[in-house]
């Protein structure tokens, strides 16, 4: 079993962070993982993305041209990666920032208003957590508990942030599970 995902967004949206958290949680769960950021000339253009692979066995290629899932946090990311998703895969859209309708019909499309939810939870910076939760809910790539433990560990020095992020994560998770029904 392998889960792989490209997470993409603006520089400040924290996609590299949730990618790393996903990889970490996978590792904690005893899986093989890899995390690969895009680097290159476009780096400074303001968009960022990373590829995470979580697998039961040695990770083959850490570069995934046709990922099983894409998490698009903004419009340019949707436009860049939509076409690459494996047929039958998952396209998770941050509908707070993306108004455009995706064109793909052969993938499962999950719209999550991540920023709106984060704002509702008084955690405006937590949109990435919502998206991460939704991704987990939709794929069960790693267990929610594992991720919650990681959040506690990561933000250990800021208890408020821990709680806010766990709330965001859980809300996302629910939406993710629901969406896949």
């Amino acid at each position: 079993m392998q889960n792989d995902v490209i997470m993409a967004g603006f520089g400040g949206q924290g996609v590299l962070l949730i990618g790393k958290m996903l990889a970490y949680a996978g590792m904690h769960q005893g899986k093989e993982v890899s995390w690969l950021p895009s680097y290159g000339p476009e780096m400074r253009g303001g968009t960022a993305n990373c590829t995470v692979v979580i697998s039961d066995r040695t990770v083959g290629s850490p570069v995934i041209q046709c990922p099983r899932a894409v998490v698009a946090m903004n419009l340019p990311s949707l436009e860049k990666f939509e076409s690459s998703i494996k047929p039958g895969g998952l396209l998770l859209i941050n509908s707070s920032l993306i108004a455009k309708e995706p064109g793909r019909t052969d993938v499962k499309v999950l719209k999550v208003p991540a920023n709106d939810i984060a704002n509702d939870l008084h955690n405006p910076k937590g949109a990435n957590m919502v998206a991460l939760g939704a991704y987990l809910g939709a794929t069960h790539a790693v267990a929610l508990e594992e991720m919650e433990a990681l959040v506690r560990e990561t933000f250990a020095s800021k208890p408020k942030v821990v709680e806010a992020n766990i709330a965001a994560l859980r809300r996302g998770y629910e939406l993710g599970e629901e969406g896949m029904k």
């Binding site: 993982v33 680097y39 000339p41 990770v59 083959g60 570069v63």
Partner: protein, 362 residues
Amino acid sequence: MAKKLMKGSEAIGEAAVRANCKLFFGYPITPQNEIPEYMSHRLPQVGGTFVQAESEVAASNMIYGAAGTGERVFTSSSSPGISLMAEGISYLAGSELPVVLVNIMRAGPGLGGILPSQADYFQATKGGGHGDYRLLVLAPWSVQEAADLVQDAFDLADFYRNPVMILGDGLIGQMMEPVEFKENRVPCKPLKPKDWAATGCKGDRPTNIINSLFLDPQVLEYHNQKLKAKYDTMSRDEVRFTEYGTGDDYDLLIVAYGTVARVCSTAIEDLREDGIKAAMVRPISLFPFPYEAVRRAAKKAKAVLVVELSCGQMIEDVQLALEGSRPVHFYGRQGGMLASPEEVAQKAKEVLAGTSQEVRHA
């Protein structure tokens, strides 16, 4: 130590520190800036020294000086920077100094681009500098392997008194993967005191001289032959490779190294799902090249496919191994473009279907 998710660049730096290397001299260049950056904050913590050299030319000579004292030292760079070290590397090899050189390859030639490439294979294995010399060249395919090979590299360098190069690509440098550093690691080679080092000639010992100049051609010829004998010993004792699926039957043998070999391993699985049987030999030591292993593994196959992120360089070593006994095919991407498992699988199918053209030297 527990597993930690680490960037390849940082794992390489940390591995050096754990191999008791307290000295780094280097110059920034993408995509390996994380290595000097890591060393600049890490070395002072362990009482070591980080020096940002004024250039790669200077860096290659600083490590020459440092290695000449018998201390462990390393530098890292990327393709154009390694070219600037060509003279220095030839001196290091000629003077038999143990250093570790890391080349996180980017696409060339010239300024090229900053994305991954494997186009420095020739430079690394056949000698970018002048004269007859060889580097021991090790090519990791994962962050963990990078960390392991870097530690081995220091032992090998000391054992052979020879520069050892870690040849990675931008993916190795940028990727994060779990890494575990073993406590109380045992050197991979028995290590002797460095009584040849130039550290001040106490008492009556004759002076120690770090040198590659031999004006008498007969003496230089002896020196060349001594070096050659050393390289021959390496060729006998230091061949490293892994095999993938060679226990089963297969029609196609893939030969690939570094991260692109991971792509090939995925391709092999995909091919098996399609009922096509392929296996792989992955050279880990590029010099010495696993000629024998490739030759042996090719026996079971109808054809051999070499996959590289270059226009075809390692393929010559594969051809030297096979001596025409199997048709050799090539799939390469260049310029920072990466080969995908799908492309490799497609090429594999073409090879077996007879629609791919064999590579020969006309």
